[in-house]
């Protein structure tokens, strides 16, 4: 903002006379902190892709990406990853259909409509929801939601994608709601006041002013939610079944990529075997999927970003 004017030529005497060792140390420590995350990422990529590449020496990448049968642990083995990708995409889609509209609605309500008292109740409730371990959500889906769906006449299998997706959507609700609400809260008051001054109703302000102005933050919350859905493991492991399925029928059991990794990685397959390397191949595929999605999302956010100064 308003920096004090300096007369030309008069260099501000802000630099210390002597180098301060303490400052160097602090700087080094902080740099190290930043470096840890970079190094970890690099380490993960290497650890993931080296066995994955070995896997593709043994199994054709075309078979892997186009095969419709996933049974790597059976005789004869088959390595078509599509059923797993289908499982992950389907459960993510269901979860998104729950989390995005509900989360956005909740965010609009909290940001534009709720009285401070209502907010005081809803916010902690969401925080509580965000604190529930995913394994609990998993058993909630299996032992509560699935029987409930059957009671209301939806013919679902005991393990099914629908209840896993619905519960995962509820799990993601707080993420979408709180990030979107933050974005809406950051929209300047002037914009709202201006709209009201022109005679807008509350709904018009919310839908035509606040949401468009906060769209980059909202999209960011959606992307984070999708990423978490794709990577979520416990719910799909417990409630969705472990049966590769390409049917895209949410009433049936299916296997998500993470569930395969978790179930297979639990110490059963011999280290170094092709079966073992499938874990890394699936992991690498999952990694690339989220990477592509994140890159795409960042583009989207930049494009629609509205900056107010």
């Amino acid at each position: 903002m308003a920096t004090p004017e300096l007369t030309a030529g008069a260099e501000p005497r802000l630099r210390a006379e002597r180098r301060r060792i303490g400052e160097d140390v602090v700087k080094a420590v902080l740099a190290l902190c930043a470096l840890v995350s970079v190094a970890t990422t690099v380490g993960i990529v290497v650890a993931l892709f080296v066995p994955a590449i070995e896997f593709f020496r043994e199994v054709s990448i075309v078979d892997f990406l186009t095969g419709k049968d996933w049974s790597p642990l059976f005789e004869p083995a088959s390595f078509g990853v599509l059923p797993l990708i289908a499982g992950t995409l389907l459960v993510t889609a269901i979860a998104s259909l729950v989390a995005m509209p509900l989360g956005l609605g909740a965010a609009v309500y909290m940001s534009e409509y709720a009285s401070p008292r209502a907010r005081g109740i809803i916010k902690p409730a969401f925080e509580l929801l965000a604190g529930i371990p995913t394994i609990v959500f998993g058993y909630f889906a299996l032992t509560f939601v699935t029987p409930l769906l059957r009671d209301i006449g939806v013919p679902v299998d005991i393990f099914n994608t629908l209840s896993a997706g619905l519960v995962m959507g509820v799990m993601l609700l707080p993420t979408v709601a709180s990030l979107s609400e933050d974005a809406m809260g950051a929209v300047p008051r002037d914009l709202r006041d201006g709209a009201y001054a022109l005679g807008s109703t509350k709904v018009q302000v919310a839908t035509r002013i606040v949401v468009p102005a906060a769209v980059s933050g909202i999209v960011a919350s959606f992307v984070l939610a999708i990423s978490r859905a794709v990577g979520e493991t416990m719910i799909v492991l417990v409630a969705m079944g472990q049966q590769p399925n390409l049917s895209f029928d949410p009433r049936e059991a299916a296997e998500a990529m993470t569930a395969f990794i978790a179930a297979t990685g639990a110490g059963d397959v011999p280290t170094g075997s092709t079966e073992y390397k499938t874990i890394f191949a699936v992991g690498a595929t999952l990694f690339l999927m989220t990477l592509v999605m994140n890159v795409f999302a960042i583009r989207l956010v930049r494009k629609y970003r509205e900056a107010y100064e």
């Binding site: 059976f74 699935t146 059963d268 280290t271």
Partner: protein, 334 residues
């Protein structure tokens, strides 16, 4: 003879106790050493509570509960000994056993040739103990009122590689139009190996489009939750869940036989009755806590098997296991 040895051991312990009390405040380490020296001549499990250490077991999820039950009971005798029991499947267990990572390997089938080779390569020698019998049980939902008995051929038709049977009426024309939902153990399970070998005629040959899990409780959940559900696992999991599951009788050409303690012991439950094993590393036998644990396990085999709902060994089988133990001890001492 046996009773005599016990009496001597008790007397020795009593004496030691008195000596320790008399020398109150004296050097405790001395008396501990003395105790160790005395008790090696007597059965170790009688010494009561002065052993310590950690015993690592892993392997079959079918045998796991048996070893766990034995370990829990053993804690009452030797609280200083910790027995950890993993359940990564018979194959997974041998994998670790032959790398030398575990002392005991639980197995729901005998060790395979390639596993013997793997152990040999690493120089791991072992003793095989049969610890219980099992009746591999085929289960259906309690609401299933049409099927009480399946023939081996019908089972094969359902489970063989590439099978497309998806409805009960394809299994038998008299069965109703009810979707068939299959659950079973994963490929690393000894139960899977045994079932595929006996039913499909080739170990590892199975259809793959069923809900597969190494965790038998997942199979229980699956079959309990589906009216047309069908699954298979070890007898103990059925016993534990008999209120929520129905066991099917098996007809191997000599009429329908239900799985039970009797039919498993006398071998009439064909072809799915089988022995369950614990493999012990010979090198670990030199450790008194491992020796004591195996001894405890064999001495109390019937109670452990009954309390954890397994089929106990017959007298003949138990005698053989005990003489194998004695031989292993001899060898370890030599």
């Amino acid at each position: 003879m046996h009773a005599d040895a016990r009496t001597i051991a008790r007397a020795a312990l009593l004496l030691l106790l008195l000596v320790t009390l008399a020398g109150c405040g004296g050097d405790g380490r001395d008396s501990d050493d003395a105790a160790g020296g005395e008790t090696t001549t007597a059965p170790t499990s009688e010494s009561g509570g002065d052993l310590s250490g950690r015993i690592q077991a892993d392997g079959s999820s079918t045998v796991g509960p048996y070893t766990t039950a034995a370990a829990e009971a053993f804690r009452g005798v030797e609280p200083g000994v910790q027995v950890t029991v993993g359940v990564s499947g018979t194959g997974g267990g041998f994998e670790r056993f032959c790398r030398g990572e575990t002392d005991l390997s639980n197995a729901s089938r005998a060790i395979k040739d390639e596993e013997i080779a793997a152990c040999k390569k690493e120089g791991i020698e072992y003793v095989e103990f049969q610890v219980a019998n099992d009746a591999l049980t085929v289960v259906a939902n309690t609401e299933n009122d049409w099927a009480t008995c399946l023939t081996v051929e019908q089972l094969k038709k359902i489970w063989k590689t590439g099978s497309k049977v998806g409805n009960w009426n394809q299994v038998d024309a008299s069965f109703p139009d009810q979707e068939l939902k299959l659950f079973g153990p994963g490929t690393d399970s000894g139960t899977f190996d045994y079932f595929t070998d006996e039913i499909n005629g080739e170990e590892g040959a199975s259809r793959s489009d069923y809900g597969a899990s190494e965790d038998d409780n997942v199979i229980v959940q699956g079959v309990t939750g589906e009216k047309g559900g069908l699954g298979y696992f070890g007898f103990s999991y059925f016993e534990e869940n008999q209120d929520s599951l129905k066991a099917l009788e098996i007809d191997a050409g000599e009429g329908c036989i239900a799985p039970s303690v009797e039919t498993a012991q006398d071998g009439t439950y064909k072809p799915l009755s089988r022995p369950l094993f614990v493999y012990a590393k010979k090198a670990s036998f030199k450790r008194p806590e491992v020796e004591a644990f195996i001894k405890y396990l064999l001495d109390n085999e019937t109670q452990i098997a009954e309390s954890s709902q397994y089929v106990p060994l017959t007298d003949e089988q138990l005698t053989k296991a005990k003489s194998d133990y004695e031989a292993a001890i001899e060898e370890a001492k030599a």
